[in-house]
Amino acid sequence: MIPYTSSGAERLILAGLQPGPEGVHPISLEIAGVARRLAGEGGFRTAGVFIAGELTPAARRQLENCGLAEVRLYLNPAFHPFVPEQQAPALLHCVGELRPEILLLGATPEGRSLAPLAAVSLETGITADCTALALNAGGLLVQTRPAFGGGLMAEILTPQARPQMATLRYGIFPHRAAGEGGSTRLVPADPGPLPPAKTQAEALTAPAAGEEAPVVLALGGGVRAREDIEFFQNLSRVLGAELMSSRSLVERGWFPQSRQIGLSGRCVAPELLITLGIAGSVQFMAGIQGARRICALNTDPAAPILRIADIPLICDLYEAAARLCP
């Protein structure tokens, strides 16, 4: 792979699409939507790259309707389960053929493994976990992500190296329906012989059902003691909510990381998010952008979460919770 400079790049945005439990992973449709929006703003062409063990009928239908001009299909049983060293040659092959100016991937574990491998070969950089993407006046991709532990936002550019690579946080960018016209061309592609596998991967379980809880109850640093968690578990049942937490409670060891909302945890997009004792670091906010409505309760009137909440309440969380779950 010969690294290329900006002069060698085509005005093309390449969307990295990945398989999901049914069809494509939903992040792929978000990426396709972002690629189409940026292409419209900057006069780019669009393409996608789909690397998977097989093409299921559901995935075919979604890819045909994703709104990109074409999707290159790299299908090989060796691509499932995901092993980054096996998929990287396919991604690099596609990048070598299409020479994109911009390459977008999902900030899923898969995308966050594959992107740095490809970036090393391409001698380019990546901005990981972007929460916003735009083009500046010079046509460069402005990659926005939370920074420095989540206290601030950073805008990052890749001025020289190509492609400009970014991974996109899942659950933040809107799905942009492209209609059912089936206008995306699916183009089978072949990277040639794959390198011998150095590791063997075996899928053990499918991911937990993708059903989003309609109500999420999130606890933060305002919770005083580990023993109190059981009370909040009861409260979550009363509210019919999934119980989750901010990073601070994961760092105290009171919640597993799988229940953490935020940049280094999960993104949630419930109908209603109720936060108790959460201040609202940028790191946390990065995980709740998809929430339809937010009801936030905090004793500190200056807590950032109260500024973005639809129902911002200043109140002691224990006293309020006691009324909800006597």
């Binding site: 601030l152 899928a203 019919g240 906010m285 500024r307 911002p312 309020a320």
Partner: protein, 278 residues
């Protein structure tokens, strides 16, 4: 078998940044060992014990890149059980992004002799990118196994670990060399004993500068070499969407219940002891 751990000192409190350059200023914040690195160190020490020969467990080497005070993170690693500590420290390394950090760390390992097993924390709490372990493995030409949530075994002939991907749980087996990015659920970190802590204070820490690396060309390091540039840092919040309401607990409870899907605008029933909204 040689075992290495990459660690990082992260700001313990709030870090500031230089408004001109967009670079992190660590001066005010007391640095601490990146919390994820405790899990990486524990995994490395367990691997060393599992792979111990007749002479006992092999030495675990901790490597970091950072300013002189990053020695503090290395001493923490020594206190926890690392046998050797190595600091890559040069003003020419400053401002490196994830890609160039990985390249610099790779140079350190190459100079030392690339270990058969390298452990990293899955991510750092300041950068949160999770990119360095994979980029480092790519630089070294060894496979990277990320998102490790359980360790089944490390044996002389190979390893078996479980990783959590968006596609579910995957068992990964392979031989060495290999790099592992360790999540918080994989192991239970040990605490450092007081004698070890005292010993670690006096233990030597090797320091290498740019001139010590196999590739000493300054333009390949630090901010100048980094493909990505921070252009702007800003506080993300504007005006409040709705002015916060100071409410008593009963009102708060009623407002929360009234906001549940399907209950908007409806009179709020008294809270019941079970079930949930329809």
């Amino acid at each position: 078998m040689r075992i290495g751990v990459c660690i990082k000192q992260v700001p313990g409190g709030s870090a500031r940044m230089d408004g001109e350059t967009g670079l992190l200023i660590r001066g005010s914040a007391q640095g601490v060992l990146n919390p994820y690195d405790y899990f990486a160190l524990e995994a490395a020490l367990q691997a060393a014990a599992s792979l111990a020969g007749p002479e006992g467990p092999g030495e675990v080497t901790a490597l970091t890149m950072g300013p002189p005070q990053a020695e503090g993170a290395l001493r923490e690693a020594l206190a926890l059980g690392a046998g050797k500590a190595l600091l890559l420290c040069d003003s020419g390394f400053a401002g490196a992004d994830a890609a160039i950090t990985a390249r610099t760390l790779a140079q350190g390992w190459e100079k030392l002799g690339v270990p058969e097993l390298i452990f990293c924390g899955q991510q750092t709490t300041d950068g949160d990118t999770a990119q360095v372990p994979f980029a480092l493995a790519a630089r070294l030409g060894i496979p990277a196994v990320g998102w490790v949530k359980a360790i089944e075994y490390f044996r002389a002939e190979g390893f078996s670990v479980l990783q959590e991907l968006s596609g579910g749980t995957v068992r990964v087996r392979g031989g060495y060399p290999a790099l592992f990015a360790i999540g918080r659920e994989a192991v239970q970190p040990r605490a450092a004993s007081l004698p070890r802590r005292l010993e670690a204070r006096r233990a030597p820490v090797t320091r290498w500068t740019l001139a010590d690396l196999p590739d000493p060309a300054p333009h390949r390091y630090g901010l100048a070499a980094s493909p990505t540039r921070v252009k702007r840092i800003y506080a993300p919040l504007g005006e409040a969407k709705t002015p916060p309401l100071r409410v008593d607990p009963g009102e708060a409870a009623a407002l929360i219940l009234g906001a549940l899907p399907g209950r908007e605008g409806q009179p709020v029933p008294p809270p019941s002891g079970g079930g949930g909204p329809g």
